[in-house]
């Protein structure tokens, strides 16, 4: 496959299963291809259960094995295959070169430590900063992410902060060692709409300031449209379509993407029924034969039931994995 020009992260053919004694093998990722260039924001979109979080957890090297098992694939980051690194080397990259922001800050922050401590411990460990210097740096970061109260906020415990402030604190932690890649896993899902926008703007600003690449994981296409440069759509453990944002939103090639776009509620469509995609994502223990999407696909033909479609580049930088690209859409 074509390598990204300024490749930072290149995930190729990542195949992950969950194998627990007494239950069937769950095939969570079935050959995920995903690439992120330096300073690029890539949106990874999918319904829950599609493999978004498994992908990000695997990139972080935090998949618990067992039950998880990586059957095939490569995760190339800055020219090194992360899967070939030792656990210790892997740990050193976490937080320092690849950092992560999670969905629910109130659960992902440690309730028993002050925000300042949760930031400075990383600075001490990864950058060898002394306490005083680390505190100065933490205060700087707090200002940068808009954590109200500056140094005072560093002295507070997570429960003393509002939801939005907690997420800012979590972002401050994530960017503290200026990683080249930030993985944001549904970073705004737990927040209300006005806060969502503020956090998204903050992420955009961080990209400008630090030239930090962001893998933005979400089920919400509207958020992705706002922040991403490129979008990958994942379904049942496969990236079914990947394209620059404009191309994906204007000329989607995969039927699943089309249906996703149609299901976005809009102000123009006010008063009409919300369009939902019939059916649901297959669970990883029972992925259908052939194209995993065929049971829900309005275009599906015989070939879709038999063969897994290969991902092909239909336009420069616009890939889709569908047998029927170009087939006209039924009304």
């Amino acid at each position: 496959m074509a390598k990204a020009v300024d490749g930072l992260l290149d995930v190729r053919g990542l195949d992950v299963s969950f194998v627990a004694p007494g239950s069937a093998r769950a095939h969570a990722l079935r050959g995920v291809d995903l690439s992120v260039a330096a300073a690029e924001i890539v949106g990874l979109v999918g319904e829950s259960g599609s493999g978004k979080t498994v992908t990000s957890t695997c990139i972080m090297g935090l998949l618990p094995a067992p039950p998880a098992r990586i059957d095939a694939g490569e995760i190339e980051f800055k020219g090194r295959d992360l899967l070939g690194l030792s656990p210790e080397e892997r740990r050193r990259t976490r937080g320092r070169e690849i950092a992560m922001v999670f969905q629910e800050p109130s659960r992902y922050l440690n309730p028993s430590f002050r925000i300042g401590e949760q930031i400075t411990e990383m600075l001490g460990l990864h950058l060898g900063m002394r306490r005083e210097a680390a505190l100065d740096r933490a205060a700087e970061l707090a200002g940068l992410v808009g954590l109200r109260g500056g140094r005072g906020a560093l002295r507070s415990y997570p429960h003393e902060l509002s939801g939005g402030m907690k997420q800012r604190a979590m972002i401050a932690m994530a960017i503290s060692c200026t990683p080249s890649l930030l993985i944001a896993d549904e970073p705004t899902t737990a927040l209300d709409v006005t806060l969502q926008l503020q956090i998204l703007r903050l992420l955009l600003r961080l990209r400008e300031v630090f030239r930090m690449a962001i893998l933005f994981i979400s089920h919400d296409l509207r958020l992705v449209r706002f922040v991403a440069d490129r979008v990958s759509v994942i379904y049942a453990g496969i990236v079914v379509e990947s394209a620059p944002k404009e191309a994906l939103f204007l000329t989607p090639l995969h039927p699943y993407t089309r249906l996703l776009l149609m299901s976005i509620p809009s102000a123009q469509a006010r008063g009409t029924r919300l369009r939902a995609i019939p059916g649901r994502v297959p669970d990883a223990q029972h992925v259908p034969e052939g194209c995993a999407f065929h049971p829900r696909c309005p275009l599906a033909e015989e070939v879709c039931r038999r063969e897994i479609p290969a991902s092909r580049e239909h336009q420069p930088g616009h890939r889709a994995a569908c047998h029927l690209v170009g087939k006209s859409w039924p009304d």
């Binding site: 972080m60 935090l62 740990r91 050193r92 990259t93 976490r94 937080g95 320092r96 950092a99 992560m100 999670f102 629910e104 659960r107 992902y108 922050l109 440690n110 309730p111 028993s112 430590f113 411990e121 990383m122 460990l125 990864h126 415990y157 429960h159 979590m170 932690m173």
Partner: protein, 308 residues
Amino acid sequence: MRLLTFASKRLGRLILTILLISTIVFFVIRVIPGDPALVIAGVDASTADLAAIRAKLGTDQPLGTQYARWLLAVARFDFGASLATGQPVARLVLQRFPLTLTLALLAFVISILLAIPLGILSAVRRWSTWDYVGMVFSQVGMALPSFWLGIILLLLFAVKIRAFPLFGIGSFRHLVLPAVSLGFARAAVLLRLTRASMIEEMSREYVVSARAKGLTDRMVRYKHALKNAMLPIVTMAGIQLGYMLGGAVIVEQVFSLPGLGRLFLTAVYQRDFPLIQGGIVFIALVFSLINFAVDILYSVLNPKIRIG
């Protein structure tokens, strides 16, 4: 500082508890049938003698006056004189208390040293040999009553092997067997709690984010998870220390140690009312102080508590 406000609130609660206990003790003693004057003078005493004794004890005064005097006495830590020996109750109690406290503290230290490291190890290396050792230990420990264990230890290590003295006081070695038999069962309970609490905390989301920050396993476990896991452990350990003070009564019997337990047991046999009253209030005070210390420690560990 908020911790100080919290501490003073808890101190107020402590004083309230003691007041409540004193009140209950006062009325319970008054409700129980039996006139202390009769106990002292005997059933064939003359009316004049009884009146004299009542006047001395103050039991001829109206109930309100008696109650007020009692509270005042409690505040001054003056519970009168023992009927049996004539010595001040406070002195008797304070004479015996160091031995019981030493025994309980020693048992406490033994149980903590056994339970917490082994509990953490069991949780971190789940299903390993350590975990099985811990589980067997906690099963056995909980099933054995401390007095039985005490007798067995005596037979084994004082009679058969003669590594420790059979009875008596005066050295650290005298306290080892009693403390082990007292601490063992408590350690078993604490071990289970430590293991469960640690396992639970290790499954929390903040542990995932600590890993995502690139922290070492050691930091994730012993800094991030352990601090949260300690919360229920501290509470339980405090309760355990209280239990051990109470449990010391039985173990003191087995090992013939002249501690508080022996003192109170004799007092009950002899209907020594002032000593019983004073003893109950004293034990309540010690319990409350332990709880107070646990609350303070807890709030240091868990900043959320200080709001309430």
